[in-house]
């Protein structure tokens, strides 16, 4: 159906991992559910130690998925770039919990340890979730994603919108690239100018117009092949033993992490909270 994977998109000029790890042998449904479950689990972890362990688990899974190191690192850092100012600001904007909470004072502004830990918790959480998602779902082929979401009872129209956009994103992106090349040929450079913005607006509008016209042709062709609003998506087979072992392993590891994170006697692991 579609050959769309992340490598087709320009923002990251990345290539999908060519090597097949054990993760790639898992059922797409399992990979989706597992990464969503893991995200919910990580968000509810109370302290740094638990989050560190969760991040390690995500790292191991990323390694098992043979995620390309540099590209993944850059992607995670890109997410972190959004977080940096949070990290810098939170210590100063979080009120001191007591005299022992005082970390340092800059330009008359006191910074608190609790703010720093709060910021660190956010960074660890988001990185653990992103890494696990890139490992489990980012390595999925497009049709795997569509099938899995359909099998997990996503509404049919939404599945169709997803499937058709995945099919046509590449085509529209190439159309955009060709138009941009032709604009470059006529000495266009994207600058901070009204001229640039106007031309970009025209260009995007042209893409929309062509997309709509293409959708009319696609609909006609689909009708010619008996489309009546239902959209056949291959039903995936049963989950394999590997899938269940993975689920069991992941649940057990998360349980262990939860035990360490929530267990009062083990709080020495996380004297900060």
């Amino acid at each position: 159906m579609s050959s769309f994977t992340l490598q087709h998109l320009p923002a990251l000029e990345a290539r999908a991992p060519t090597e097949e790890g054990i993760v790639q042998r898992l059922d797409p449904r399992m990979r989706l559910v597992a990464s969503f479950g893991f995200a919910l689990f990580v968000v509810s972890l109370p302290n740094i130690a638990g989050l560190m362990l969760a991040l390690s688990l995500a790292l191991v899974t990323g390694w098992a998925a043979r995620l390309p190191l540099l590209i993944t690192a850059r992607r995670v850092l890109l997410v972190d770039a959004f977080l940096i100012f949070l990290l810098l600001m939170l210590p100063f904007t979080t009120p001191l919990a007591g005299p022992s909470d005082h970390m340092l004072t800059l330009w008359g502004q006191p910074a608190s340890w609790s703010g720093l830990w709060h910021a660190l918790r956010i960074v660890l959480t988001s990185n653990a979730v992103v890494l696990m998602m890139l490992a489990l779902v980012g390595t999925l082929p497009a049709q795997g994603l569509v099938q899995a979401l359909a099998a997990l009872h996503m509404p049919s129209h939404l599945v169709q919108i997803l499937a058709l956009s995945l099919r046509y994103i590449d085509i529209i992106r190439e159309e955009y690239a060709r138009l941009r090349t032709a604009m470059k040929m006529r000495a266009f450079q994207l600058r901070r100018s009204w001229h640039s913005y106007r031309c970009l607006g025209y260009l995007l509008a042209m893409l929309l117009v062509r997309s709509l016209e293409r959708s009319e042709r696609v609909l006609a062709a689909m009708r010619c092949r008996g489309y009546d609003g239902r959209f056949p998506v291959n039903q995936p087979g049963r989950l394999s033993r590997l899938d269940w072992s993975f689920a069991a392993g992941l649940t057990a590891t998360c349980g262990l992490i939860a035990l360490l994170a929530f267990e009062p006697d083990l709080r020495w692991l996380a004297e900060v909270h």
């Binding site: 992340l6 995200a39 904007t93 959480t125 939404l158 956009s165 929309l208 959708s215 609909l219």
Partner: protein, 211 residues
């Protein structure tokens, strides 16, 4: 603009997700069977638009174009923008998984609102007026999104108040850029394909009888 996992409090995430699901349901119900391919194709086009990076100061920002999406798609902007966000999250790790509903609501709700408010004024008057309405709608959608993001942060923790202010200020340039691009985009559509601005997903729905 993307909120990440772990930043917001549970009640904010839960409430936003419920509202987002409601918006999606309305959007999907507004979608006639025949217009599913159109919605999908426009969703793909808006996704491509969101990959466009525009220089701002020393860095660059990527476009969102939620205002035009709302003007063109109406309530169907909810599922269309959701699909874009889902792909960005799943394949690139932008945004977060547990906050998918939050991000969808923050971007799609303003889109739908400016669509409802501005669409009646798009086709009346001259081209200049169309461009101005389109520009205001695009800038307005971004402004509202930034406000919603700030609100989410503020509701989650008082310590985020300063961060929320920074987000608002840093979005001023993005509002201007989206407004300028949106103005050109809408004036193009008025000249080339006015159907797109006249609720295409409803207007062409009666085609079903013809096909």
């Amino acid at each position: 603009m993307h909120i990440v996992d772990g930043a917001l409090s549970m009640p904010v995430v839960a409430a936003s997700s419920v509202l987002a699901v409601g918006g999606m349901a309305l959007g999907l119900r507004a979608l006639n069977v025949d217009r599913v391919p159109a919605a999908a194709m426009l969703s793909a086009a808006f996704f491509v638009a969101s990959l466009v990076h525009v220089p701002v100061g020393p860095t660059s920002v990527h476009l969102i174009m939620s205002g035009p999406a709302g003007l063109i798609l109406g309530w169907a902007a909810f599922p269309a923008l959701f699909v874009g966000l889902l792909l960005q999250t799943l394949f690139f790790g932008f945004g977060g998984l547990t906050v998918l509903g939050v991000n969808t609501l923050n971007i799609a709700l303003p889109a739908v609102m400016v669509g409802v408010l501005a669409r009646p004024f798009l086709m009346s008057g001259n081209l200049r007026r169309t461009a101005i309405v389109g520009g205001l709608a695009s800038a307005g959608a971004i402004t509202s999104t930034a406000l919603l993001v700030a609100l989410d942060l503020w509701l989650s923790s008082q310590a985020f108040w300063a961060a929320a202010q920074v987000i608002l200020v840093s979005h001023i340039s993005i509002m201007v850029i989206e407004g300028a691009i949106g103005a050109a985009l809408v004036s193009f559509l008025r000249q080339v394909k006015p159907e797109l601005l006249m609720a295409p997903l409803r207007a062409t729905a009666d085609r079903k009888t013809r096909v």
